[in-house]
Symmetry: C6
Subunit: 76 residues, 6 copies
């Protein structure tokens, strides 16, 4: 996974920051399971399971803390 995917934690808006948090969360899965085909097989399982969906939102929330702090909460 040598290609570049994360140049900065700075985003223009809170929503773009939230979407970056989603990307960070997905990359954590991708680094742990690099196979596209395995991840494709697993996706329907966790995206239809309540516990896994809540857990996914949890990881996003943790990454969103990081991105929000990096952007000083987009305060003007």
């Amino acid at each position: 996974m040598s290609n570049q995917w994360l140049n900065s934690l700075i985003t223009d808006t809170p929503q773009a920051g939230y979407e970056l948090a989603i990307k960070l969360s997905r990359m954590g899965i991708k680094y742990t399971q690099p196979s596209d085909s395995v991840r494709e097989k697993i996706r329907p399982i966790y995206s239809e399971d309540a516990g896994n969906l809540i857990a996914s939102s949890h990881v996003i929330a943790v990454n969103f803390q990081t991105v929000s702090a990096a952007n000083n909460y987009w305060k003007k």
Copy 2:
């Protein structure tokens, strides 16, 4: 999910901040499972399961940390 849903982390009151944290938590689920019908099917499962309810409150708590910090804890 191109429409705008998050313009700011700033709220007038702590309660509005808590409700924004709930919104952030739900959006994490929505981004992971964009299908309205699948989410509708899953909702009764997690909203009647103790473990999932506690886990939901946990995600809200993490997002509320972010929103609270953004608002400097609504200190006067």
Copy 3:
């Protein structure tokens, strides 16, 4: 859930802050499952289950971080 329940994160004492953290944790459950009767049905399940009790204490701990920071840790 339009009525007001959270006016401030500031409390006089650490213990009052901890109790506010408990309230925040319960409200996260209440917003996710608004039905009083369903929550009543679930309560005995999670309050007698070790894993759920620990998870509840975890959510309180996260909210207590927020309340503690808001009160600057009640330092004199």
Copy 4:
């Protein structure tokens, strides 16, 4: 639970701070399950279960973050 149990987050040493974090973690369980006899019944279950022990240590770690910040990490 009207009696006073938490007067301050300040401790003399990091170890006393860690032990306060343990107390905070246990109080989260006690507030959720106030019955002494039920908690007594549950204790052997979670104290011999690997997952619950790790989860307990996790809650302590979160509370220890709070106590450590309150004490400015006991820096001289």
Copy 5:
């Protein structure tokens, strides 16, 4: 558990800080389950279980946040 095991959160290097985080994580388990023999019995279970191993690494990560902040991230 009256003997002293935690005198300071300050370490010379990030790695020593990480190892202190491991110690903190283990002490959380030891305080919850003080019996050496029970912990010995449980150790092979969680150290060969993927979920428990990840959960252990999670607790270490939380404690490492605390230790890292205490050391101002070992910045020169």
Copy 6:
């Protein structure tokens, strides 16, 4: 595990910081289960299990908070 593996939390870029967070997360597992062969046996289990993959991404997110703060979020 006496050899040195963590000299600094400072990285040149956010992506290198994220990769350091992955390393920290894996070391938490390695310290808990030092046997290479046991870890090899377990890896396929958690890397094909949705819950474990999400949990792995969660641990990385927590460590990434630490690394990001250490680097002041790579702000110029």
